[in-house]
Symmetry: C2
Subunit: 374 residues, 2 copies
């Protein structure tokens, strides 16, 4: 997969119709997986391979290479408009439609995404297709979308610009007395006003002690002087997500926080500098982790250093010391070390970057130097 | 389930801690299902039974009645704060944690939600627990949350008030030249400003020919004089959703549209009037459908008349001619007939209602008389 997809990523980008190439690359893997066809239920994988952006549908790629997109009446018009070169199947009952199609195409061993199919639907499909073999392949197709072409990177870059413009426009209202929720709401409104399809996820605005909860959303807490405020946010443009985290200080910064901010910033900078084609995800994670460890904050850096980002906000690869995955040209990743002192504060700094054979491009736009607002 | 849950709905509402009663009612069903315990993966079912509102976790109700909530480190504090009377299990690997728990509790036949569990996780759990039987019971627990108590209804009512206030505040900007997306964005912003946890779903603003696509979201199209504009929207308050659709006209209404609006309104009114404890969902659907059919628009009413609403925007029961389910006191439903002329226009009118032994209460607040804006 990697090599095939790389050819797309490096073929000059801005392809007007990238879908036939992606589909061909995908089908090259069938022999290695010992399948003759594949059933897709994950809407982002379907979008990646066909361009269909609806929220329901099933894609079947048959033994003769024909792709069939199964949609119900709500999506027929949209599917016809967004796709080409595939057969549109009007679906009433999904199991019946799949069964007819598998028989007609003479399928034998059908790969599927076992993390995107629920047990009920799986059992119903298996029950009606007893002579077929269904082969779970989620692990194998995890990297399907990992290498981005230039058009995809352009979408993420645009999402990042929309997001940064919105955040910078909110700077004047980030001050003591304003609530996390107020800032999140204004920020999300401005990202959408600025052209985002939608926001990438519920914006995190976590101040003071709430900053120590890496999953905190925005709550009613009002900023106080001296707070560290973690803002983790992103925009979606043409389906592609940006992901960025800034930690600001309100009115002033205490010396201990200033020191930790400097440490996290250095871990972030070093990890980005370490990114290169052929290095492992483990290497990148440990570049940040070892530094934070060395300064005694290791047990307060409680998550991985980053993750792939694209049509999903979290996708392959994971930037973790547990992953031996090698970086390849075309990957888009976050680098986001953080230190969290429970009950006290949290500091995280995150950028989204593009791995190339040349210089790593930082796609997210807000400067990460220590910033005091208020 | 039905009778047991009814006792909650009719026990005087506003219970300060409804969770032990819900859990007890749920466990009463075990003999009928021939299970000794149950694994939950659906976060709304978990929230309903325990109060835990996090976005990841697993609930196991064991043979001796003990409930165990499995959460990872991110959710320990939140789970401790939101729940009582259950054992919190710190989970690192979900399959390992489940396996240890099932062995420790001496489980034998474990019910689970087969529509909320993916094939991969199911296979991993089964593979490590070979002596156990796992019994798919999504169909059986579909009605778990169907009967709402007064506290739940109060939340939906509050969500509906927030939503209506926001929509009415947007009336002055609904006019020719304004885009669907602008209205959706303003409406969502004002719902959240007005106290919504979040919006119930991506707001539908579909004007002119786009109104004929029942699933259309808000697009770039600008309103024109004579347009019918379908606005389908809702707010979430303490986890509970409101759901309401208004169809407005811009500047004027053509006589054919006025006639169809009157028809849809009558179908909507009659269906609501038909709602009563003991009537079937089929009856309610056909009350609206037969009228629309009789006037020659039957094939343009392309969806069911409504659905249950609560912690999910769509939940049991479905108001469909295919459903023999009887209405019970405590159900909260939408009634939303519509007529769609492809390429031309769409008209839908929707309210969320509460089924009681007395008068049906309409929880949504915006008047549904024909309204011209601009």
């Amino acid at each position: 997969m990697a090599d095939a997809a790389k050819s797309v990523a490096e073929s000059g980008g801005m392809t007007s119709n990238p879908f036939p190439g992606r589909m061909a690359d995908f089908r090259l893997r069938f022999p290695e997986w010992s399948v003759d066809s594949f059933l897709f239920f994950n809407m982002n994988n379907i979008r990646y391979l066909t361009g269909f952006s609806g929220s329901e549908g099933i894609l079947y790629v048959g033994p003769r290479g024909q792709a069939h997109l199964l949609v119900d009446g709500r999506y027929t018009t949209q599917a016809r408009k967004e796709t080409s070169g595939l057969e549109l199947v009007h679906m009433t009952d999904s199991v019946d439609s799949i069964t007819i199609l598998l028989a007609h195409e003479n399928a034998s061993v059908v790969g599927f995404e076992d993390t995107s199919l629920n047990v009920q639907l799986y059992r119903r499909i298996k029950g009606k297709n007893k002579r077929l073999k269904f082969k779970p392949l989620s692990g194998e197709i995890d990297l399907l979308r990992a290498l981005k072409d230039e058009h995809e990177v352009a979408c993420i870059r645009k999402a990042a610009v929309i997001a940064a413009d919105a955040l910078e426009s909110v700077f004047p209202i980030i001050r003591a007395g304003v609530s996390e929720r107020d800032i999140a709401l204004e920020l999300e409104y401005r990202m959408r006003k600025g052209g985002a399809d939608k926001v990438a996820f519920d914006t995190i605005v976590a101040s003071g002690p709430r900053g120590a909860l890496p999953h905190a959303r925005a709550g009613a807490r009002k900023f106080k002087p001296g707070d560290a405020v973690v803002i983790d946010y992103g925009a979606v443009y043409k389906g592609y997500h940006s992901d960025e985290t800034c930690t600001f200080f309100i009115d002033r910064v205490e010396s201990d926080l200033k020191e930790v901010y400097g440490l996290v910033k250095e871990a972030h900078d070093r990890a980005i500098a370490a990114v290169a084609v052929g290095r492992s995800c483990r290497d990148i994670d440990l570049t940040a982790r070892d530094l934070i460890d060395h300064k005694g904050w290791g047990r307060h850096f409680t998550h991985g250093t980053g993750h792939g980002v694209g049509l999903d906000i979290h996708e392959a690869p994971r930037i973790s010391y547990k992953s031996e995955q090698l970086l390849e040209a075309g990957m888009v990743l976050t680098i986001e070390p953080g230190v969290y002192l429970p009950g006290k504060w949290g500091i995280r700094i995150e950028d989204t970057i593009w791995v190339t054979r040349g210089k790593t491009e930082v796609l997210t736009k807000v400067p990460k130097e220590l910033t005091i607002l208020g």
